[in-house]
């Protein structure tokens, strides 16, 4: 159904957006309700499930594995950093268009976007208020995704933690990018990495041991600075957020704005084949930035509330049961 739209339907949506009324009763800047649950998959270091009321359902898992460091042959960088490897997959169950190889292009686009926004390393010139300035004044070791990659390194030049972030889109109800990034942020928040003990064997040789204590684990440092994305769809002369599938079909131009909690712009991507006037572009970016910061606050509050509820349950001896698909 979602790949076709009649001219009357398109007109209806267009005119409605002009009047600030969308098909489901929302206004242009309104987001649908977000249902978030962390720790839904066992055998992972962290996981989360995000559902947008209206159908979009994304499952994100983070697995921390130990592997060799990846050294960039040109710059020689990376010997003292961990890695984040992202992968997004749209299940054929999500929509008719995703069967067989239909989802390949979308998978690749989302994967590349995630990789770019999360693990691309930069040397920032600004002094971000959220990170502590390094004592030696060396360039910021955080990737654009805010996660401290050097903390993930175990033995410099040899072994490091590799975070495999796998996102699975189970149901399509529009606005996949935002849901995937929200889920990733929640999953990284939920991730716990075992502690490692490095022993110096002398002669420049090191050995390490992974401490197998389920209670004594580390969180991913820099996770608060992870960005989320806001997708703005330009329809007619206006723009909306959180588009439904039909609204996405009417979109002329799409702008994905990645913003972190300090309001810094972590990434930008324009899609579809329409054009955006420069003034409107700046307005959209500003709008996305403000909305993004608000959304991050709400998400963090949700994650915190869930963690607190879980702790109370554990203290009372009640089993912590994740609802997953059984949540209505």
């Amino acid at each position: 159904m979602p790949s076709l739209i009649s001219p009357s339907e398109r007109d209806y949506i267009l005119k409605g957006i002009e009047c600030n009324i969308r098909a489901d009763g929302r206004q242009r800047p309104d987001y649908r309700e977000v249902i978030l649950e962390t720790g839904v998959i066992s055998q992972t270091s962290g996981s989360a499930r995000v559902r947008l009321a209206g159908g979009t359902d994304v499952l994100v898992s983070v697995k921390a594995d130990i592997g060799p460091v990846l050294v960039d042959p040109e710059t020689g960088e990376g010997a003292d950093k961990g890695q984040i490897i992202c992968n997004v997959e749209c299940a054929p169950s999500a929509s008719q268009q995703f069967e067989g190889r239909g989802a390949d292009e979308l998978n690749n686009e989302l994967t590349q976007m995630m990789t770019r926004f999360l693990s691309h390393n930069t040397t920032t010139l600004s002094t971000p208020s959220s990170t502590t300035p390094s004592s030696t004044g060396a360039p910021n070791n955080n990737g654009a995704g805010g996660i401290n990659l050097s903390k993930l390194c175990i033995i410099p030049g040899e072994q490091c933690w590799i975070l495999y972030v796998d996102a699975l889109v189970l149901d399509y109800g529009g606005n996949l990018v935002d849901a995937v990034f929200m889920g990733t942020r929640a999953a990284i928040f939920d991730t716990r990495i075992p502690k490692t003990e490095v022993q110096d064997l002398g002669d420049g040789n090191f050995d390490f041991e992974v401490l197998d204590d389920a209670e004594d684990t580390e969180v991913v440092e820099g996770r608060e600075d992870m960005p989320i994305c806001i997708t703005l769809n330009k329809i007619g002369a206006r723009h909306i957020v959180d588009a439904s599938p039909l609204e996405e079909l009417c979109t002329e131009a799409k702008l994905v704005v990645a913003v972190n909690r300090s309001g810094e712009l972590c990434g930008l991507q324009k899609g579809q084949d329409g054009g955006i006037e420069p003034s409107l572009l700046l307005e959209m970016i500003q709008f996305g930035k403000t909305l993004g910061q608000t959304l991050i606050k709400q998400l963090d509050a949700k994650i915190k509330a869930e963690a607190e509820a879980d702790t109370i349950k554990r203290q009372n001896g009640q089993p912590v049961v994740k609802l997953g698909f059984f949540a209505q």
Binding site: Q43, N87, A94, S95, Q96, Y164, L170, F325, F326
Partner: protein, 240 residues
């Protein structure tokens, strides 16, 4: 692998006991029918689209619907992260098993020149993936309103430590034992799929098959209850 003196298996179950099974239907918004099924820690999501216009004109049959099954396994489904390509032979084989199981059951002659798509997503894998897929597909097909002659209930069985046991988990499966997957139509007790891995002594075959059949009947009770509860729920919502 230890086996308790009182005859309990590695996870505390009796030989003829199924794992905790929870299921629910109508979980996806886009699919015509969907179901989510858990066999203990094995979690499978099934989505059914159809009957709809066939994608590949060359495969269209003039008098019946064609069945298309696709099986995907998530990279985080097993303990070790592993990405499987879409053309993984094992997955294709399992998908064709599911197709073969449902072809005689779905009344395809009611939907000529059309296609019924079944998409399976394995979210977590702890043994008994094929049986979970078949059971989830049955629920999803019923949820989609596609006519079938009967439920299809599947159950695995094997020879674990000197006696027959059903619904093997991952540890039992990976041990040096054979595993039989049976898919049965509960009303007529007819078998639409029988698949076995590894070796099994022919003397033990009857016992294993019999136990699997009983396991299927137990599955039927659970699945029927889910469907009936859902139907009652819908009926109640409609009368308000």
């Amino acid at each position: 692998m230890s086996h308790n003196q009182i005859g309990l298996r590695i996870d505390g179950r009796r030989p003829a006991e199924l794992r905790k099974i929870t299921s629910t239907t109508c979980v996806l918004s886009q699919a015509d029918g969907s179901a989510y099924l858990e066999h203990g820690n094995t979690k499978v999501l099934a989505a059914v689209y159809g009957p709809r216009e066939a994608r590949h004109r060359a495969l269209v049959l003039h008098d019946r619907a064609i069945l298309n099954v696709e099986l995907n396994v998530a990279p985080f489904s097993s303990g070790e992260r592993r990405r499987r390509s879409k053309n993984d032979k094992r997955l294709l084989e399992m998908a064709s098993f599911v197709k073969q199981t449902f072809e005689p059951v779905v009344i395809a002659t009611l939907y000529p020149r059309s296609q019924i798509d079944i998409y399976l997503q394995v979210i977590q894998h702890d043994g008994g993936t094929l049986q979970a897929c078949i059971n989830a597909t049955t629920l999803a097909l019923i949820d989609a309103g596609i006519a079938m002659t009967d439920y299809v209930c599947a159950c695995t069985a094997g020879w674990v430590e000197r006696e027959a046991a059903i619904d093997l988990n991952y540890i039992e499966e990976s041990s040096d034992t054979s595993e039989v997957t049976i898919a049965m139509l509960p009303k007529s007790s007819k078998i639409t799929l029988a698949q076995m891995e590894s070796r099994l002594h022919v003397d033990k075959l009857e016992e294993v098959f019999r136990l699997a059949g009983e396991g299927c009947k137990q599955m039927y009770e659970v699945m029927d209850k889910t469907i009936r509860d859902r139907a009652e729920d819908l009926a109640r919502k409609m009368t308000v």
